[in-house]
């Protein structure tokens, strides 16, 4: 009756082998390491790079204890943190700016385990230390910038087609242009339509398409006014495009920071999560991530008379112009039309002007940027151009040189830097790309490194001592059956840790708490079984029959109670954020493993102990009292 067929023992043995294999990497500890990654996303690291670095390190007398070369990174492991730091600076000198060298920790578990995919658990930021940012796109700025861009493209197109317009402005998200001739309205509408693509509202290939823009024509005293408004879906596209660009940009910026294993993910439609393990200098991280630093090139207004400036200071700038200030606070009137933005920049670097000794940033424009720049400089010789650095809430004219001659080739130098440090910072920001729209940090969670270690100790101690207490309680109360339950519970812990390691779920402090709590709750299944067996003996059944019936009857109850707990766990996972999610993952997995170990593993041991004997006198399940009125 209480005998398992041998395949069941094989299954249990296999799961335990799996459990042990995937759990042991957690016990090997970690070594300091450096990680070398290409600075540009999508880049590769050649194997020769590794040889070069190893040679250089040998010359310096540093001997790495291990090296791992992967497609997009190289990791070198060292004995001490001093060697690690030294190796980092050596590598940085050798590799230059094409690569990023970050400090990291690598598991010491043997290679054959790692090749099986058996890695230590992936620790969350609250256990390893680091920063978590949630950044949100400034939506109002997104459509504002889009409209600005649209209007300047439109003006250029109208000029090329020689369409006469005499007033163009943006008012409350609507572009408004005035014409003298009615025919021009249709021409302009065609131009605008060409700028945005229609999108089918019933899926691809459907006949019905919505337009990217809606138009409103009005006539007023012989003036023909065209109002252009972006449709809602075009707005959505704009937002998603802006977010994609920002993701890319933030990737590059994080690379510049030199962080091993960063997480940069989209969340919802307008947010980005950034997790930087091990980063301690939060101020620097925030500055680099949060700086919008959009570079805009615009032309100065031809008339800079003091009267006009004074009127502009009172909020009455001439139409089409805007008042800016340079670094010294001097006001200047600048045309609203944007010639170029930082998007057209493909490279930027700090430098020193040979003539004046001043710090400069030299930038290289892409093909279309170079063409536009060439055309603008040709048409505006003798006029002044402004380079404006737009940050979150401020715009500042860095420099406003007079265009002396046409500039081709797309190489531009920006003077007016305060010092070399600023030149370096601005170059970095321009190189790492500009954000399509400003982002604001709406959530920040920082955990210091010592706090991380402390948190691990807290979670692990809670689990260990909770486990010990359960062990004593169970073996005292249920004797042999109690001990078997404890063995099943240990198997549960093994499976849970193995599963968490195998799927590389992020383990957080609430997750550790969930491990402890799951153990406390998982024992319920064994308690139910043991109590049922006692019940059966009380009812006068033979020991063998009691074991059989006990497991049988407890099963339904265990299933029902675990499914309800599972429902709660899944809801936690779906709606939970941050700490709740970490808790939920472990909780749900723990419920699943506990059902297996409480029923199969404990049964297999009980069967092994009792099932082989034909007749047994009594079960070691603690003292059982008879009940009278049953």
């Amino acid at each position: 009756m209480n005998q398992f067929s041998s395949w069941k023992y094989v299954v249990i043995a296999l799961t335990i082998i799996f459990g042990v294999t995937y759990t042991i990497p957690n016990f090997f500890g970690e070594s300091p390491a450096i990680q070398i990654m290409p600075a540009k996303s999508g880049g590769k690291v050649e194997i020769t790079t590794l040889q070069v670095i190893e040679n250089e390190l040998k010359i310096a007398g540093i001997d790495p204890v291990g090296a791992i070369a992967e497609k997009d990174n190289i990791k070198l492991k060292f004995q001490t943190a001093e060697e690690q730091i030294a190796a980092k600076s050596i590598s940085e000198n050798v590799l230059g700016s094409d690569f990023v060298v970050a400090l990291n920790l690598i598991s010491n578990s043997p290679q054959w385990l790692s090749s099986l995919g058996a890695l230590p658990m992936y620790l969350g930021l609250d256990l390893r230390g680091g920063v978590h940012f949630l950044m949100e796109l400034d939506l109002s700025k997104v459509s504002e910038r889009k409209n600005d861009g649209l209007l300047s493209d439109l003006r250029r197109a109208m000029r090329e087609d020689k369409i006469q317009y005499y007033d163009s402005q943006i008012n409350g998200g609507v572009i408004q242009v005035k014409f003298k001739q009615e025919d021009d309205l249709d021409k302009v509408k065609d131009i605008v339509r060409g700028m945005g693509t229609g999108r089918s509202i019933f899926g691809a290939g459907s006949a019905k398409e919505t337009e990217a823009f809606s138009f409103l024509e009005t006539e007023n005293n012989g003036e023909f006014i065209l109002q252009i408004r972006q449709s809602q879906y075009a707005d959505e596209d704009t937002v998603s495009f802006a977010l994609k660009q920002n993701l890319e940009t933030l990737h590059n910026r994080v690379n510049e920071l030199g962080v091993a294993e960063p997480i940069i993910q989209q969340q919802g439609k307008d947010r980005i999560v950034i997790q930087l393990p091990g980063v301690q200098d939060t101020a620097k991280a925030k500055e680099i991530l949060g700086r919008t630093a959009i570079l805009e090139m615009k032309m100065l207004s031809d008339d800079q008379s003091p009267e006009l400036i004074e009127r502009a200071e009172n909020g009455q700038a001439p139409p089409g112009t805007q008042l800016y200030r340079d670094r010294d606070g001097a006001p200047m009137l600048i045309k609203k039309e944007i010639i170029l933005t930082g998007e057209k920049i493909i490279n930027a670097g700090p430098g020193v002007d040979q003539m004046t000794g001043q710090s400069i940033v030299s930038i290289t424009l892409d093909g279309s940027g170079a063409n536009i720049f060439k055309q603008i400089t040709r048409e505006n010789v003798g006029k002044r151009m402004a380079l404006i650095l737009v940050e979150k809430n401020s715009a500042e004219v860095i420099t406003s040189p007079v265009i002396k001659s046409e500039i081709g080739g797309g190489r531009v130098q920006i003077t007016g830097m305060e010092n070399a440090q600023e030149a370096t910072d601005i170059a970095l920001l321009l190189r790492a790309g500009s954000l399509a729209a400003p982002m604001e940090i709406v959530e920040e969670r920082t955990v210091g490194p010592s706090m991380g270690k402390e948190n691990i100790a807290r979670g692990v101690n809670s689990t260990i001592w909770g486990f010990v207490a359960i062990m004593i309680l169970m073996s005292l109360y249920y004797m042999t059956f109690g001990l078997v339950s404890v063995v099943a519970l240990s198997a549960n812990l093994l499976f849970l840790v193995a599963l968490l390691s195998a799927i590389q779920a992020t383990l957080t402090l609430p997750g550790l708490a969930a491990i402890a709590l799951t153990l406390g709750m998982a024992i319920d299944a064994n308690v139910l079984i043991n109590e049922r067996i006692r019940d059966e003996i009380r009812n006068g059944n033979t020991p063998q029959a009691s074991i059989h019936m006990g497991y049988e009857k407890a099963w339904g109850t265990i299933l029902d109670s675990n499914i309800t707990t599972l429902i709660a766990g899944l809801a936690l996972f779906m709606f939970g954020s941050g700490p709740i999610k970490g808790f939920a993952v472990v909780h749900v997995l723990g419920i699943l493993t506990s059902m297996y170990s409480a029923i199969w593993v404990s049964r297999s041991i009980i069967n092994y102990i009792y099932g082989r004997k034909r007749k047994i006198e009594s079960l070691s399940i603690g003292e059982i009292y008879k009940i009278e009125n049953n």
Binding site: K286, W465, A513
Partner: protein, 311 residues
């Protein structure tokens, strides 16, 4: 060893009027604490900043307050926790400062005053995010309740489902009542504990109900009250053992878990203690009052199987 040497069924249901009075009064008390004092919501829900810093030597709270006042942060709450070297600083949301700037400003000013300060933890949440986390939390509770009611209606029947969920919400309200009365901080981690209690407490009700259903099949001639009393008495030993085990783990968390897990463990403790009471003295009388009996519960089972089980 058997601690619970119960020879006769305990007539739990005889006390159902008293327990109803007790339950309702605790419930009303909890609700009034909640409405009068309200929950002390953590920054996760209200938005704001918490900073935990550690000094090399004993921290001077007054001097930290003065330092913060110099950068216009008079509304900061500064307090010790754990050891004399650990300081917790709470800052409300500011309209003139972004949350990113706020923590940097505080850290810079503290470092300027005393360099031997280490940042342990910063949690800054914007107002919008706080609101969303609050809504998500409420949604999670709602979803859990619905899911449980549906599952129990399907596995048992609607009377049990309603009784179980009321017993559960009773526990949740009491946990919240405790948090309101003592003004313990209610944050995301505590919410996780509350939701875990929801699952855990239902677990408790399911075990008792399962036994009630089985008894209805076994004790065909007994009255509903006797059937329920027997079910509770026969599961008593299991109830105590399971809760004892879970509680030992939770106590271990209270001892070793530190600041972050402290309130989490507190919520679980209250949930576990009241979970026992509510599944017995709230869930069962309610199921009885709703009219649970043999015909509407045992009916769904296959009669042949029932016969076998009686043997």
């Amino acid at each position: 060893m058997e601690i619970f040497r119960v020879k006769k069924d305990i007539p739990f249901m005889r006390f159902r009027r008293i327990s109803a009075i007790i339950s309702i009064s605790i419930f009303v008390l909890a609700i009034s604490f909640l409405s009068l004092k309200g929950l002390n919501l953590g920054v996760d829900f209200t938005g704001g900043t918490i900073m935990e810093v550690k000094y090399a030597k004993q921290a001077n709270i007054q001097s930290i307050r003065d330092t913060l006042a110099t950068i216009n942060l008079q509304d900061a709450q500064v307090q010790n926790f754990g050891t004399a070297r650990d300081v917790l600083i709470r800052l409300p949301l500011r309209s003139d400062l972004s949350i990113a700037d706020l923590s940097e400003k505080v850290l810079a000013s503290l470092k300027e005053k005393n360099d031997a300060v280490e940042i342990m933890r910063v949690e800054s949440v914007g107002a919008q995010i706080g609101e969303e986390l609050y809504e998500d939390g409420a949604l999670a509770i709602l979803f859990v309740c619905l899911g449980i009611v549906l599952y129990l209606s399907f596995r048992f029947e609607w009377r049990f489902a309603i009784a179980a969920i009321v017993a559960n919400l009773h526990d949740v309200i009491i946990i919240l009542g405790f948090f309101a009365f003592f003004q313990w901080e209610f944050n995301l981690t505590v919410l996780a504990a509350v939701l875990a209690v929801l699952g855990y407490s239902v677990n408790e009700s399911v075990v008792v109900f399962d036994r009630v259903r089985e008894n209805f099949r076994r004790m065909r001639k007994s009255k509903v009250e006797e059937v329920i009393n027997n079910a509770i008495t026969r599961t008593m030993s299991r109830t105590i053992m399971t809760h004892l085990s879970t509680q030992t783990v939770v106590i271990s968390m209270l001892i070793f878990g530190g600041e972050i897990l402290n309130n989490f463990a507190l919520a679980l403790t209250i949930g576990i203690l009241f979970g026992i009471y509510s599944s017995i003295m709230v869930g069962c009388p309610l199921a009885m009052w709703l009219g649970t009996n043999q015909s509407n519960l045992a009916r769904t089972e296959d009669p042949k199987k029932t016969e076998q089980e009686i043997i």
